[in-house]
Assembly symmetry: D2
Homo-oligomer: 359 residues x 4
């Protein structure tokens, strides 16, 4: 399979550029009979949409979508579901000044060298606009997972140096959507909002961390060795623009623990454990406990400051900040993290149907 497809059985193939006609996703492998709830797909896209609040880019994108195939009488038919999201508010001229310039820490240089040709407008295919297609695909995956009772919740746990030092168990995750930062702790959310606004005033950007929790996942999802559930989650997360790191369960902190502290004593026949440093996965396979992981995002590369760079002819240039960009990507990235997690789970859940003869 080529590189714009994700998944083995439940797959998405995405396409489209930031400033072309639009972007789209083909969901292939969704079982027949899933209720395709348009309102839900719309609400997921709204969560990712630019212009939704005062701390995200003021670019207006309507993200209206059209389901072009694969749904009949509101149900999936087992055939590819195509969702098309037309571009509506592209200001391609905003990018004329970087037609020949390589913006620092963008994909301009590497795309130009790899392909010898580059749609420079808004970053083309490297634009985070592509993630809208993931969210649409992930929404369908969530609709399928609903039948299995699997719940996926992500939230912002760090913005710059502001860190929410609470476990997800201490938080009311239903509050995540109650503020524009998408941090379920109202007090911390306020601080983060304040911080993002200051950063924006400086013409600068800041990174952050998203925590995700998957609950009520059946035992047995994930394949041993190369397709471990957490390995697929890692790839899924690192494939999101601006992501620099992934850890699950005890993560990097776990590397500083002793085995006697880290091991999760098994308390019940159903596999309930006393602690859950394993993060709900053992040997790459879900064990029925909560799955949780953290995803690190770098600061957005587009800043409103002059920067040293080169153009495609090798000449030194000054890249100036223009356009409408996010001061911090994590509030809008919450639904993207959830979407990618849903896609991994839907896919590996189908794969696991072949695990045993008597299943």
């Amino acid at each position: 399979m080529a590189s714009n497809t994700f998944g083995y059985l439940f797959t998405i193939t995405t396409f489209g550029e930031s400033h072309g006609k639009g972007i789209g996703v083909i969901i292939d492998g969704c079982p027949a009979g899933v209720e395709i709830d348009n309102a839900f797909i719309r609400s997921e896209l709204q969560r990712r949409k630019p212009g939704q609040s005062s701390i995200v880019t003021q670019r207006k994108e309507e993200d209206e979508f059209i389901i072009q195939s694969g749904v009949f009488e509101d149900k999936s038919t087992g055939h590819p579901i195509a969702i098309w999201i037309p571009n509506t508010n592209q200001k391609s001229r905003d990018y004329d000044h970087i037609k020949y310039q390589f913006r620092p820490s963008h994909a301009d240089f590497s795309y130009e060298k790899k392909y010898g040709i580059r749609d420079y407008r808004g970053g083309g295919r490297s634009s985070a606009r592509e993630t809208a297609a993931r969210v649409a695909g992930g929404a369908v995956a969530k609709l399928m997972l609903k039948s299995y009772g699997i719940k996926i919740n992500a939230f912002v746990s760090e913005v710059g140096n502001l860190k929410l030092d609470k476990s997800y168990l201490q938080l009311d995750l239903s509050k995540t959507e109650s503020n524009i930062v998408r941090c379920p702790d109202p007090e911390m959310a306020l601080q983060m909002e304040q911080h993002i606004k200051e950063i924006r005033k400086e013409g600068d950007t800041v990174g952050g961390v998203i925590t995700a929790v998957i609950q009520d996942c059946p035992v047995g999802i994930g394949e041993p060795v190369y397709r471990k559930l957490h390995a697929e989650l890692a790839r899924a997360m690192l494939s999101i623009n601006a992501v620099k790191g992934f850890e699950y369960g005890s993560g990097f902190a776990g590397s500083r623990m002793k085995g006697s502290e880290h091991n999760d004593a098994i308390l019940t026949a159903e596999g309930k454990t006393a602690s859950n440093f394993s993060g709900g996965i053992q040997g790459g396979i879900s064990n029925g406990m909560d799955i949780y992981f953290r995803v690190a995002f770098k600061p957005v590369a587009t800043i409103m400051k002059d920067q040293v760079s080169r153009d495609k002819h090798g000449a030194a240039v000054t890249v100036s900040g223009k356009g409408r960009h996010d001061p911090c990507v994590v509030p809008r990235a919450v639904p993207i993290v959830e979407a990618m997690a849903a896609l991994v789970l839907a896919d590996l859940l189908l794969v696991s149907k072949g695990s045993r003869l008597d299943a």
Copy 2:
């Protein structure tokens, strides 16, 4: 493809259990004409081998290997290279006591539930013994990458709370193999060695972190969107037993930086940058700068202490530590990290040959 295959064009398929007849790897997609240097493959396996030093498991495995196919007159033929590593020193009786027990933080419970049948001896397929097959496959990948001048070096940068607070640029990586911890800083190596020995005395284990550096990688390796170079590296690393986290370039620390600090100013026509927080990858594609990343390992789950658990009938049991195990996995995991990195690079390098018509 099924789950024991890794890669798209340059692939490995591994098989075998800890206490069966042996383990093996099929390397399919290696171009014809690569010099297959048996001495090099052997030396790579030696670096991973148990019993190699006083701080690793004293289990003896000879890891002698047989190349069964795909090599003719010392060169790869373009056909599958099969490498078979017989098991020689299995003491299956060591595992009789866990025949029905689920060891905490092992894959026993999840395997039993997923498959309904389980080769309990030494963990079967979930054993880290499988990684010998990866190292053999990675050795062939390294032999191919040599023709492209690509260098891969990993080393131990953390053991428990001991952290080597130096960039790889400040270290002499040629010293990594000069001590049994595989830390290129001799002083820190000594402390780490000491610490591991103490931990072992306690009957306990400890985690750690491995840093890896890829140098002289050509520009243009990695595919946008779902097959980003760092996403594939993340998956590769998380697929290694005991790994809990991955970060590249600035990583989690990058999420606390501002864009103006984090962006890498481009200084030359060849894309040399002032800083390298991007970690040698932009938009998922290598940009010619050093690629570096960190991999977190949890403490080994087998400890010499009694633990609370359940057996396959659901009854409460005490799991007692037995067998010969590593107090800390990272010294032996260094060649595994390198092998997986080599496999990702060899694979994506072949994939990238199709990037442009004029290539």
Copy 3:
């Protein structure tokens, strides 16, 4: 990968139903720098279009297409090329009478049983309308192959009992498009046309055979064992609606020959052979000689006669012929056969770039 994707590196993913909003194709893996000639894509679609002549269905489909992504300044960018072909002339009501009926020798019954839900309008996803998306994808593949000088020509060699008993070497393939049957022998074309018209008058349909020739294919395309060039061609052809058989080189007739007759004596250092019963492929790999094969199509299942069948409740029904259908599918299938051959070649050509280290 899921089942609506074809190819390994140069891939198409198609979607859409006969009587939905339209059909589309995502071409992923096309190298950057291919000239995307819209007029050529249009002319290929015209060759497949309904209503193009007096011997094909009089259904009107405009097959206007929109390139939605992946092309910049008339060249492929290395990113997915999406082509969307809206449906314009669907008369869904024509299908109301088969809402619950299973048409004999259609996919109605097997779809219903497999999925439990079925878009009955025009056959939904099982409609041959899907092949328009293949032709669009194949047109892009042909544009890529042009750079390599590879030529692909298909033509009608049999209609019912009318058989063109000449080798492609005795024919002027440039005449294929000069008649509505797409048979390069004008006299035979006339007979075939006459026959098809008679069959239509009877309210019946008839099958046929298409012969295809690939010329100037470089040596070395195709992979041994499971991805032999002819095995991939066979799969590609059998994936086309209504295809019942495939043979290449000497084919079924070759099974009646002796080795001493069948073997192709090698005459030159470049591999030119005296005969070419091998059909340009040895061991699954192109050898530089002409590649040729034949594809058998069954008679179209929709006929204007009453037929015995069952409905979805198991009751006996009479299925009556309605709608506008082809009396013989082969004239319109010529560009589809070419498209699938082009897709196989473009794909395996990219795969073969990894065959040897010095390539």
Copy 4:
């Protein structure tokens, strides 16, 4: 995946050369819990073995096999099953005379040009010896399919000009193994045997045709569009050495029929049809009726006669026949055809588990 792997979920990866250490197969994706019956695997290998009768090659190969992994207490564990078949009776010197020669209608020339290096001994990887690994893999697939009640039977229906003009329905398929030709019609079997012996006396070879029948296949196996059941069968068959053609159901003869003759009237709610020209597959999906197909094999290329060719330096040479080869490949190919059919079915059966939400 690389090219020596076959299948999507139930996969085989084969390796090894004719005159190397042996050949092997890794079966990955077999569900846990399948009884692995060694005696059955052995009997399948015996059916393919050289030297089994007076009309096949007198080369002796023991085809003893070792199961190296994936089986525990006689059951599949869900992990890769490796089967290794050592080479025992290689006479590599037999091939010294073709070290530099290209044998007509063998893969020598195309391998040399593709890879620049070639294991000339016995054809190396291009040898039909590879098919023993397929038969071993297919035996495991058959053991899995037994649980589903699916039956697969192949037999010889043509040798040279001798054609068994009976439908499989008129034959007692249990008689196939009662003669050395593997033709269930005893009279025709005798004629075929006679013919093969004459051909061998001439130092020549002859082709033939194998017919295969799959019975009691559940409805719903096969995926629409590119992974149609018959398309996968076609690829599987064409991937077997010496195969030149494939047809299913009415096949090439179907192209000469009218729709009114060809359509299969549906007689019962379960989908039983009056005729079965569809060959048990509609729209690429099994419909519950018998699946049947025919596979054409060319005459073996190794003949005991002098032939005109070139060597690797481009010089004209005479290739003389030596070694021990089959005068006709079809008797030994019967279990290979069955094995590949079993692999396709086992694979697509697992894939189809994801077809609908309520399955």
